[in-house]
Amino acid sequence: MASSSSSSLSRVVVKSSDNNLFVVNKKVASQSQLLKQCIDNMEEKGTNDVILIPLSNVTSNILTLVLEYCEKHADFADDDNNNQELKQWDHEFLKKFDYATLNSLTMAADYMVTKSLLNLCCQFIADSIKDLTVQQIRQIFDIKNDFTPQEEADIKNENAWAFR
């Protein structure tokens, strides 16, 4: 696979935590700063072999999604960021998932340093929970209420107007 004429890589192989291999072309991989860093390092060393990047924190399911996102965004990489079509796609893309998936996706985006996906996920989750009640929040995120009833009432009182 080594090419003798050029020292730049065209593809990398990414390995998920459950040991599945994904072949990713360089432009797509560059959407993730983590992968880009690996590629840049290898290119500096002058290696022409296809490199294998293991991602011990990301499962195949989630990695597929991250790569789907990266692929779409790589297509638009030369356009300006405010592309309406891309925004629409982003929204449709995230709409399909439940909280658990969104959560894993957010963590993977953080780990792989894909800032735009991370921001997108956080904003999307934030938008969808912002009008929920405290009770609903505890349910969704499986949080135990560790306040005494008096403490909780005090905090509510302090910000009474926010609970209208």
Binding site: T106, D110, L118, N119, C122, Q123, I125, A126, D127, I129, K130, D131, V134, I137, R138, F141, I143, K144, N145, D146, F147, E152, I155, K156, E158, N159, A160, W161, A162, F163, R164
Partner: protein, 383 residues
């Protein structure tokens, strides 16, 4: 999770404080508050959809959710603490904190969202004329170098002292040097207050004998409290003061970048009675004005430059509508050291009291004003 919470609106975070102790501590953490602030400033600059405002006259203070639909949830504070009439003006707003000048004797820094405020006396009193013009220049802003909020007071009479108040240390310091401008000798009045930005105070002055000239002085007081004066004057021959014109400096600090944004002839069909401009949105191409107050009401006018239409919103703050003032702010959780809560009961108002009506070119908006809830708070000190 940290980042998700930082993407939530500030108001939601106040509610989510009682989810659990971890969340409570996180939402109160200054580092988180700063992250949240940066996040919201970043997204706000892209969207501009949500434009909360604060409105004040000499006896009440009023916060609203959105200037485009101001009838939603207006919160009002009765803030008069004595009988004496006091002129109220905005000194400035920064990072969700709003600073108001009360009669040249004291100022108030408040966070409208967390309903906290702090009242501080001015180190020196500055005379305020009946006409509302005062002989002092004020500025309020964030000093990023010292992570502090500062109020600057420049006296324009007599000794021309300059004082800087630091919120962090809760103290006044006299600046070692005064603000000197050849203009001050024959100063009639500052045309506009001061605008804080880039670590500088900007004052717009107008000469007495040379009305067609506008002077914009930038005085750096925030960092080293030494006035460094830079002049970015606007002195266009085309300036016609009979007409209403708005100019913007497109590139900060570049004198040549002054551009005429808008011109409305006072005699033309589009003329309307306006106070000073409040804000300009580059994305929506709208200019906001304080509307003049002749029918016992104050309000704002939103002028859309593309469609050449204007929308007017009225605040019916009861009586004494002199010198009302309005400003925009970005909601944040920024806390004010040594502040107290604005206490009070909430109760609903009568429908006819409802603060805002819309008039002028978009009468259809009138339909929307009905039956929205209003909250009333009274302004009291607990400490």
């Amino acid at each position: 999770m940290y980042k998700i919470l930082a993407s939530l609106p500030a108001e939601t975070l106040l509610r989510f404080k009682c989810v659990c102790k971890d969340w409570y501590n996180l939402i109160n953490d200054p580092v988180f508050i700063q992250l949240h602030l940066n996040q919201s400033l970043e997204t706000d600059s892209c969207h501009h959809h949500h434009r909360p405002f604060v409105f004040a006259n000499d006896d009440s203070l009023c916060f609203g959710d959105d200037i485009d639909s101001p009838s939603q949830a207006v919160v009002k504070f009765n803030w008069r603490d004595n009988i004496e009439y006091e002129h109220v003006g905005f000194i400035g707003s920064s990072n969700g904190l709003v600073c108001l000048n009360k009669g040249g004797k004291s100022f108030i820094i408040c966070n409208p969202l967390t309903r906290t405020f702090k009242q501080v006396l001015f180190s020196v009193e500055v005379e305020i004329w009946n006409s509302g013009h005062c002989l002092g220049l004020y500025g309020f802003g964030y000093d990023s170098q010292h992570d502090d909020y500062k109020v600057v007071l420049m006296k324009l009479q007599e000794d021309k002292e300059t004082w800087v108040y630091s919120l962090k240390t809760d103290s006044w310091r006299k600046a070692p040097t005064q603000y000197q401008s050849p203009l001050l000798k024959k100063l009639y009045k500052p045309l506009c207050g001061c605008v804080f930005g880039h670590g500088m105070i900007h004052c717009i002055l107008r000469g007495v004998d040379d009305y067609s000239r506008l002077y914009l002085d930038s005085v750096e007081y925030t960092y080293n409290e030494q006035p460094q004066i830079a002049r970015f004057n606007l002195s266009s021959e085309e300036w016609e003061h009979e007409d209403l014109e708005i100019w913007i400096m497109k590139e900060y600090g570049i004198k040549e970048s002054w551009t005429k944004l808008l011109r409305i002839s006072h005699n033309g069909p589009k003329s309307f009675n306006l106070g000073p401009p409040i804000a300009y949105s580059r994305t929506t191409r709208q200019v906001l004005w304080l509307n003049s107050i002749n029918d016992g009401h104050a309000g704002i006018v939103c002028y859309d430059m593309q469609l050449e239409t204007r929308k007017a919103f009225k605040f019916s703050i009861p009586k004494r509508p002199f010198h009302a003032t309005v400003n925009l702010f970005a909601p944040s959780l920024v806390s004010i050291p040594g502040s107290s809560h604005m206490k009070g009961q909430t109760h609903q108002t009568h429908e006819e009291d409802n603060a805002i009506v819309s008039s002028s070119t978009l009468p259809s908006k009138k339909e929307k004003k009905k039956g929205k809830k209003q909250l009333y708070y009274s302004w009291s000190r607990t400490s």
